[in-house]
């Protein structure tokens, strides 16, 4: 199994001297389902940001699909991101646009034609259980439904890697299980899924490889 994501001696130091990640090394294979676990401040979100090229490593290298993310130029970074599905707090839904327009956004960016995009948006919303809600505004939906819209947006462009940062935060157990079930479904069709979470209950109900982090250090890279 080839590595889809590889961290080699990665340190991330933020301005002010705070080390969010220290000498982290691990590999994630193609089609793996992995939890990044640890308490707040462990470095889980930093790992996801480094993979998405939102942050650059201070030391070491981050490879995603054989590309050294730290060396990507501002021009080539968008092409990496189009192969990633992101579900992150930074990627909130756009309240002034409909659910359909929110989900369509990655397809508009990729230049997919309107008819095909419409079909794919409907299919993605159907997959997350929100068929027929295209014309609703996000604020008219519950927290769990909004999270599912964010997932639909993340997968609509058929990414090879799905990254989610605390996707079950603020959701009740039923909604959290529904969301994790969706990630399982995408994993089942070959998508590499990386979820940063400290929701122990959810992880227990949906067991998978865990990479444990604490204060920026990898405590346990888990079994691949």
């Amino acid at each position: 199994m080839s590595a889809t994501i590889r961290f080699a001696g990665v340190t991330k130091r933020y301005p002010g001297g705070h080390d969010a990640l220290v000498d982290a090394s691990f590999e994630l294979g193609e089609g793996e389902f992995v939890y990044l676990t640890g308490p707040s401040g462990a470095g889980k979100s930093t790992v996801l940001k480094l993979v998405a090229g939102i942050e650059r490593p201070t030391q070491g290298t981050v490879f995603v699909n054989q590309q050294n993310v730290g060396r990507l130029t501002a021009r080539s970074l968008p092409w990496l991101r189009r192969n990633l599905g992101l579900v992150m707090p930074e990627l909130g839904l756009l309240d002034d646009r409909t659910v359909g327009d929110n989900v369509r956004l990655p397809l508009d960016i990729a230049g997919v034609d309107r008819a095909d995009a419409g079909r794919r948006v409907r299919a993605a919303l159907e997959k997350v259980g929100l068929a027929g809600r295209e014309r609703h505004k996000p604020l008219a939906l519950s927290g769990g439904e909004q999270q599912r819209v964010a997932i639909a947006r993340a997968v609509v462009n058929r990414p090879s890697v799905l990254l989610a940062d605390e996707p079950t935060a603020n959701l009740d157990r039923v909604a959290a299980d529904a969301v994790l079930g969706l990630f399982r479904d995408f994993h089942a069709v070959g998508v590499t899924v990386v979820i940063a979470t400290h929701d122990a209950g959810a992880m227990a109900r949906h067991d998978a490889r865990r990479i444990a982090l604490d204060r920026g250090r990898v405590l346990d890279a888990g079994a691949a």
Partner: protein
């Protein structure tokens, strides 16, 4: 095909930007239209004046008034001397009786002239010059004065030259205003595009994280700037047309020829205004959005 889809998407987003900030978009168009109208109006007036000068310049003339007691022999002698002068293209004789008849034909002059005992006008030789240059005209006029039998010389070249100078000055002011207002249009579009981008910073941040390029993020704002500039150009053409119509209406009873010259050909001016407006709108919006996606992606 992808590029076309990207522009179609940018056009839809530009329309959404205009709808999300309708008052700002409208006020910017009004401000830009006013800024574009000022140099356009100056240019239109200057072009009208220069066209008038060109028409007059086609036949620069010098009126040579003969002494009152000049007989046919003296007139013929003066005419021969006049024709012999370099720079004189043609000479026409206007008798004092013909001049009086011409004057009497003017509205309101008939009653005035009826009260006179006799004809106070002199015989006149009207010389058409081959060159409208004020220097040449002054030299010719000086020589004419020394011809025996000549009482007075009046040239229309001097005031034509003054009018031309005024028109050139207006045109220069128009060019200066044009440059200043072009900078103002670029600055206004820049500020508006920045403000609109700031309003949509979350959408910009999300699009960037989803893989949008800088161009893709900036394109709707640039298209919006171009559309604003084009609309402002159209507005400026309408303002100038209305102003010229008003000015023409005021001048027509007294100076119909000048009023006619102020009727600027509508289509070329409108197209030019729309084109210039769009270009300046593009410049302002492009400058404002150059670094959009290099700003922190997340507010």
């Amino acid at each position: 095909m992808k590029a076309l889809r990207a522009y179609a998407h940018a056009l839809r987003r530009a329309w959404a930007i205009a709808r999300s900030t309708p008052l700002l978009s409208l006020l910017v168009v009004v401000a830009l239209a006013t800024a574009l109208a000022l140099p356009m109006f100056a240019a239109a007036v200057a072009e009208g004046a220069l066209a008038a000068v060109d028409r007059i310049d086609a036949k620069p003339t010098v009126s040579v008034f003969l002494v009152a007691q000049a007989g046919a022999k003296e007139r013929e002698s003066a005419e021969r001397a006049l024709r012999a002068l370099p720079g004189v293209a043609a000479v026409r004789f206007v008798s004092r009786d013909a001049a009086l008849a011409e004057l009497a034909a003017l509205e309101g002059m008939g009653d005035l002239l009826a009260g006179l005992d006799g004809n106070p006008l002199p015989d006149t030789l009207v010389a058409t010059l081959s060159d409208a240059d004020p220097g040449t005209a002054a030299a010719v006029t000086g020589r004419i004065r020394s011809i025996p039998g000549v009482a007075n010389v009046q040239s229309d070249v001097a005031w034509v030259a003054r009018l031309a100078a005024i028109a050139r000055a207006i045109r220069w002011v128009g060019v200066l205003l044009g440059a200043l207002m072009a900078a103002a249009v670029v600055a206004a579009t820049f500020a508006a595009a920045r403000l609109q981008a700031l309003t949509h910073r979350q959408a910009i941040a999300v699009s960037t994280l989803l893989g949008a390029t800088r161009r893709w993020v900036a394109r709707p704002y640039v298209v919006h700037g171009v559309l604003q500039g084009a609309a402002a150009g159209l507005g400026a053409a309408a303002i100038v047309a209305a102003a010229l119509a008003g000015l023409g209406g005021i001048l027509r009873p007294t100076f119909p020829a000048i009023a006619d010259l102020l009727a600027v050909p509508a289509l070329p001016w409108t197209l030019a205004a729309v084109g210039v407006g769009a270009l300046l709108g593009y410049a302002g919006a492009w400058l404002a959005t150059r670094d959009l996606s290099s700003q922190p992606a997340v507010a």
